[in-house]
Amino acid sequence: MRYCDKCGVTIAGEEARCPLCQSMTLPRGGDSRPPFPDVPTLYARHGLFFRILLLCTVGGAIACLGVDWALGFHGWSLFVAGGVACLWLLLYISIARRRNVLKALTQQVVVVCALGVLWDLCTGWRAWSIDYLLPAAFMSVMLAMFILTLVLRMPSEAFLIYLLLDMLFGLLPAALLAAGLCRNAYPSIACVCVSVIAFVALLVFKGGAVAQELKRRLHL
């Protein structure tokens, strides 16, 4: 214990200065344990790794732009810069949502598909994004979620909504097929079938839980 004769208060712990007026304190025996544990301020524990990665990728992209410029600008360096931007966007989602893997997967698949369509558009529309990327992405996320829920032994309320969302995404290729945008129909048909089968399986095995989850998530 200490004593501050300016404030006239007893101070717990061994404070050299008064917490109220910051003047010197006098000793006064008794318990010397500080009233609160000292918690060090940690600034971005993993900061260095990401900073180095950021410098390397951004530095590389700038170097490519420079080389491209020196050789009479053919535009290939813009793809490098775009690739770096996509990498950081996807990395950001995985880190920001690291505590909820299924939510991260759901957001990733949306972003990956949007970026894929954008790349396809920018490189002279050959429809590879909607022909192959979308069906492959939706089906692989469905498979990944299925495995994750089994391995991590997740309770149904932790994964149902994300699984349902991904099945809903899986029906998107049907709309694209109907609009006549696809050049190779087989992957899209496969994706739609897999989504519908997965949905039926979910209803058969977890029908009650699905109804309850939707009631909770959609309550007004």
């Binding site: 101070i11 109220l20 910051q22 918690v39 301020t41 998530r217 959609l218 007004l220």
Partner: protein, 417 residues
């Protein structure tokens, strides 16, 4: 198995969108014992207390339109205090909304405000301490300690009393004037500056009585005066306003262990009235008398209840609702400078009193909050701010020592040494 779930109560709805690094909306109740805490019986006591209070099992989740509470599945764990006081508990995923830690002889219960208010948390902590002491000292159980005086069934504990007492009578709430806001440098990482002061409850009560006031009125008056004395001259055009949470269980029949509180704002215009303790105490007493009527409290309850029942508000998806609620909360919270929350006298069975030293309570805030509670003759006043400056606290505690009260200060170091 079907999971239990529950809508957030009216007061809790504002907390998830507005809690973040700056204001974690977490408050801490702690109980200091007379001997070091033994973690093993504490964990067992916690496990039992969680059965007594089903709402403490709930985790927070996002729906398409609203947040909601869902029964969670997590073990009762206690650990040694290793984080700054009132650090964030809700990180946007299903995790417990409370934490029990210990440090030396102190048991801390930190609670996210969406789960319950101070009254609910106190009932939980009292049960925890009661069960812990009986496990730690089996001889007490043999002598037969009377049970706690908390009489509520599980249904009553889970009750959403805001919903129960919403009558649908539409009333408008007139917004108050914009109050003076404390400003200054902040500790790193938005940590809270915690300064707890203890004094004799009977001594303070005697001084309050001498002025014809209650302890809450006296402390509110001192706080108003201290804030006024510290602010720059040019800030005087705004009133200093202290907001006081009111436990609605005293006005409406409820034993809920969830949120059931309202607030009243007590302001003082230092330009128009004298800055003497007597004048401010008289003004605070008069404002409280006018604000604390069942009609006024019912009006506020109905006005806030009508907001969440607004069909337009209900149908807006949560990702749009969040920023709207954040903005409206920022605007609404401009009407007070600081908060003063008096939890009042805490009762524990007489046989346990030799093992108890005191209870403390304090709450994370972006502004300044003073939380008061009393055990026996020990009145604990917990100041929290997210400012480095301690000038208001210095004036406040010097005002108490000037009244010949012995004050002991327990402070943390928001900036690590």
């Amino acid at each position: 198995m079907a999971k239990n779930w529950s809508r957030l109560d009216n007061a809790a709805k504002i907390f998830p969108p507005t809690s973040g690094k700056a204001d974690t909306r977490v408050f801490r109740f702690s109980c200091t014992l007379t001997e070091p805490v033994d973690p093993e019986p504490l964990a067992r006591a916690l496990s039992d207390a969680m059965v007594d209070f089903p709402s403490f099992r709930y985790v927070l989740k996002r729906g398409l339109f609203w947040y909601y509470l869902e029964e969670g599945d997590f073990p009762a764990t206690v650990c040694e205090e290793d984080a700054p006081p009132c650090a964030a508990l809700y990180h946007g995923f299903a995790a417990p909304l409370f934490a029990v830690t210990y440090y030396g002889a102190r048991v801390n219960l930190e609670v996210y405000h969406a789960l319950t208010d101070a009254t609910g948390a106190l009932q939980f902590l009292r049960t925890l301490i009661y069960r812990y002491l009986l496990l730690r000292h089996p001889e007490l159980a043999r002598d037969g300690v009377p049970a706690l005086d908390y009489d509520a069934s599980r249904g009553q504990r889970m009750d959403d009393s805001f919903d129960r007492y919403y009558s649908g009578k539409r009333r408008r709430m007139a917004p108050g004037p914009v109050a003076y806001q404390l400003r200054g440098l902040r500790p790193p990482q938005w940590r809270q500056q915690v300064i707890v002061g203890t004094a004799s409850a009977s001594g303070l009560l005697q001084r309050a009585r001498a002025m014809g006031a209650t302890i809450t009125e006296l402390l509110a008056a001192i706080l108003l005066l201290c804030i006024d004395a510290e602010r720059p001259l040019r800030a005087r055009r705004r009133p200093v306003v202290v907001t006081i949470p009111v436990n609605l269980r005293k006005y409406f029949d409820s034993a809920s262990a969830r949120n059931f509180f309202s607030v009243v704002n007590i302001g003082y215009d230092f330009r128009a009235h004298p800055a003497t303790l007597e004048a401010v105490v008289a003004s605070v007493r008069e404002s409280l008398r006018r604000a604390l009527t069942p009609e006024a409290l019912e009006n506020r309850l109905n006005a806030l209840g009508a907001l969440e029942r607004n069909p337009f508000m209900r149908a807006v998806p949560l990702f749009l609702k969040d920023p709207v609620m954040r903005l409206s909360c920022d605007i609404a919270e401009r009407d007070f400078t600081a908060s003063l929350s008096n939890v009042g006298r805490i009762t524990m069975p007489e046989a346990l009193m030799p093992f108890l030293e005191r209870f403390d309570v304090y709450c994370a805030t972006r502004k300044m909050q003073l939380c008061v509670c009393t055990l026996g003759d020990t009145l604990s006043m917990g100041f929290t701010t997210s400012l480095i400056s301690t000038d208001v606290q210095r004036r406040f505690f010097r005002a108490l020592t000037a009244m010949d009260l012995d004050v002991t200060i327990y402070a943390n170091h928001p900036e690590s040494r």
